[in-house]
């Protein structure tokens, strides 16, 4: 029987393209149906055409469908890859950054708990409960940590969150002169908050090599990278500082986060992340917008053009994304080890059972089975993991209770907030930000959240 893979938010073209390529190159999944769903007809058409031409290029036996209707897309789905997002759109984020900057926030660090993307995830998961209750949801859109926990708790569907941040271990290895393919590693934690507990090269502990690199080579490396245009976050001074605080290297998106003190303003980011301040700056983000636009232009060319074929532009090699290999493992028993986000259920000590943790897992016909790993150091739990866990719990409680004062609390909890009045003004502005197109498909934020009864307006600022 053929497998049906549905991609929600398929208009995220780069991502869909990678999935299509991996599917084409996974011969054991031949005959599968791929259903693209998006609310943006133009982007949907691009990915649909592109996929068809790519399959031709690679000689793959796949059927493609497209639809604007979520319910139709979910019918008979075996796997739902959810990459849909309401707010993670570069132009919307830029607009929001500019709005929040007028309220005194750097790089949108307002702390307001996520609403739209989580509500959207919940809507999709509830539809799946109704339409395809036995399907797997592979969550690709952020926030993976909050979303995996939310859907896992609130619905009966099988959820697995996926990210590629853990590949940061390869950058660490490469940078210090080791072959990433000869590395045995482990980095458990929460999504975007994972720590390199095991790091072996040819079976030998590679941390001493890292120590020696820091001592003897890091300064020259940073200078050279600056000249090349920027220091990779994974090997930035911020990452090494976190390593010194915690004794384990932070991996992937972990050094990109860390404490507020790395991120207060552009000058501070430049101190910790190198002269450009890294990607998470207004200028860094503008570069990303440019890159994405160029990529989309290429895709359209490959989808509709006559001179250029997809394989010419995007090659015939597999990506490093885990989605299709995991599907292959579950469907065809082609066993593999992956880094997944699933409800904990005891695999990582010190974290409640109903919280999504990021862990190595064995995937085969039996399912996705996380390895029970050793506990993280207590200091990492107390200063990194639990604060994130608590923020996630508040975000979910705000969403599920609809209590607007919890949104306010989130803003107050941002280290960038200087006064109660600044927080209430920022909240008002964010509630009334001009909605983008996807938001029309989600309950309006102002209908969803309400102040507690007899809410007390604060006295005026002095």
């Amino acid at each position: 029987m053929s497998t049906k893979v549905t991609i929600i938010g398929a208009g995220s073209v780069v991502f869909s393209l990678g999935l299509v390529k991996d599917l084409c190159l996974t011969r054991s999944l031949k005959g599968s149906k791929v259903c693209f769903m998006d609310i943006d007809e133009e982007r949907l058409d691009v990915v649909y055409r592109l996929a068809g031409r790519y399959a031709e290029d690679l000689g793959a036996d796949l059927q493609f469908e497209r639809t604007l209707e979520r319910a139709a897309a979910l019918r008979e789905a075996d796997f739902v890859i959810n990459t849909a997002t309401a707010t993670h759109n570069e132009h919307f984020m830029k607009h929001r950054r500019e709005l929040t900057a007028r309220h005194g926030y750097f790089y949108a660090g307002t702390g307001m708990p996520e609403y739209h993307n989580l509500q959207l995830m919940l809507d999709v998961a509830r539809d799946m409960e109704r339409i395809c209750p036995d399907a797997w949801m592979l969550l690709a859109g952020n926030p993976v940590f909050d979303g995996t926990t939310l859907m896992g708790r609130q619905t009966g569907i099988k959820v697995c969150g996926l990210c590629h941040g853990h590949y940061g271990y390869r950058e660490i290895a490469r940078t210090i002169g080791l072959d990433p393919d000869r590395v045995t590693w482990q980095a458990p934690g929460l999504n975007h908050n994972i720590w390199l507990t095991h790091f072996y090269h040819d079976g030998q502990d590679a941390y001493p090599r890292l120590e020696s690199w820091i001592e003897k080579e890091s300064a020259a490396y940073w200078r050279a990278k600056e000249e090349e245009g920027g220091v990779p976050t994974q090997m930035s001074l911020a990452a090494i500082h976190q390593y010194r605080m915690y004794g384990l290297m932070p991996v992937g998106d972990t050094p990109r986060g860390g404490g507020w003190w790395y991120h207060t303003d552009l000058e501070t980011r430049q101190r910790w992340y190198g002269g450009s301040g890294g990607g998470d700056t207004p200028a860094g983000r503008d570069r990303i917008i440019k890159r994405k636009e160029e990529k989309f232009r290429q895709m359209k060319e490959a989808a509709y053009g006559t001179r250029i074929r997809p394989v010419d532009l995007f090659g015939d090699g597999k990506t490093t994304e885990q989605h299709i290999p995991i599907i292959d493992g579950l469907v065809n028993d082609h066993e593999g080890q992956f880094q997944v986000n699933v409800l904990n259920r005891g695999a990582l000590a010190g974290i409640p059972d109903d919280v999504a943790v990021e862990l190595p897992a064995l995937v085969n016909r039996k399912g996705i089975q996380p390895l029970c790993v050793e506990p993280l150091p207590r200091k990492i739990l107390l200063e990194c993991i639990y604060p994130d866990w608590l923020q996630m719990e508040r975000t979910l409680e705000a969403l599920l209770s609809g209590d607007l004062s919890m949104m306010l609390y989130g803003i107050l909890d941002s280290h960038q907030t200087r006064s109660y009045g600044q927080a209430t003004a920022m909240l008002e502005a964010l509630l009334h930000i001009e909605p983008n197109e996807p938001m029309a498909y989600i309950e309006d934020i102002e209908d969803h959240y309400r102040w507690p009864e007899n809410w007390l307006e604060a006295p005026p600022e002095p």
Copy 2:
């Protein structure tokens, strides 16, 4: 057999005086021995003399001893009331406030985790394990939450932390026109973080009365109190604002804390706590220093003077402190209900078993037995209880690991800290603050804490 009650830090004269008075007036404890221990010989003499004269005044049969040696004081003790503190000395605190103000902190809000008082508690508890392992420790000194948890986890002695903040329910009742003696109440949580879950007057829910007071009478009350010199924190706008956020009244020291946004500077405190800004301001604290000095002058007069007897100055009524009634309950089976801080062990849902919670308890010959109370609202757990719990855990981990970077993290975690450099400078200054006399009896803070291996100095501020 006579009961021996040892008071560690007995030079805290107001507190010792109350204990002596309560002991004198608890006839079932007649024949008890009271041992005063302090490192300050002058203050120890004052309390010793005063106690003797007070017992004469009240015709009580008690024996008093005094000593400068902790080990001697603990020998054969049945109860150890620990009020000792290294840093909670008004003059030291004032000096520290002035130092931290020069680094940009208002009212010493640096966030550096407690060291001296906790280490002192641990030293006392370890001595008790050795010398009087069956005695009860009644902890009177702050931090009660951290200290009760620490001693309960690290030693085998019986520990109960006591505070009087819960009597705030009486102020609430009185202010809204109810008779506190006819109130049935409950306010569980963590010390300094307790919430009025039950509030009945003559068996009727008294919250509607509070609602009507807020609507119709609060404004006039605040104006009147301003004219009298200050609004009580328990009924301040800050307290009512917390009530609106959480649906339950915060009790005692709870409204005195709350979010950082009530406490950023004097003007902000004045908005929330009334025109004077309350006791937790530099000027408010100076008033407290004056009051304490005047009280100590009176005590000396009553201890050594010929014209004045203790009973003339301090009366012949019991205090509302719980220490002696609890001892009477444990020793003589004179059962009572008290508000205690003990390791949770399942009494308050959602809090780990090995964390000290504040709860109502029944005390009699069987021991101190907390009531299993209903869980607190999830919003209170997520925004008030868990953040405090996490901070306590970090404080204890810093103490037990001796990791100086955890002290730095505490300062970085203060909402008043603006940059990494400000935090490191504040840390250095606090480590080198001129030690006061009690600190000589505790391991030096600079010996106790060390940076992690190969600590990385931050790059210079721009």
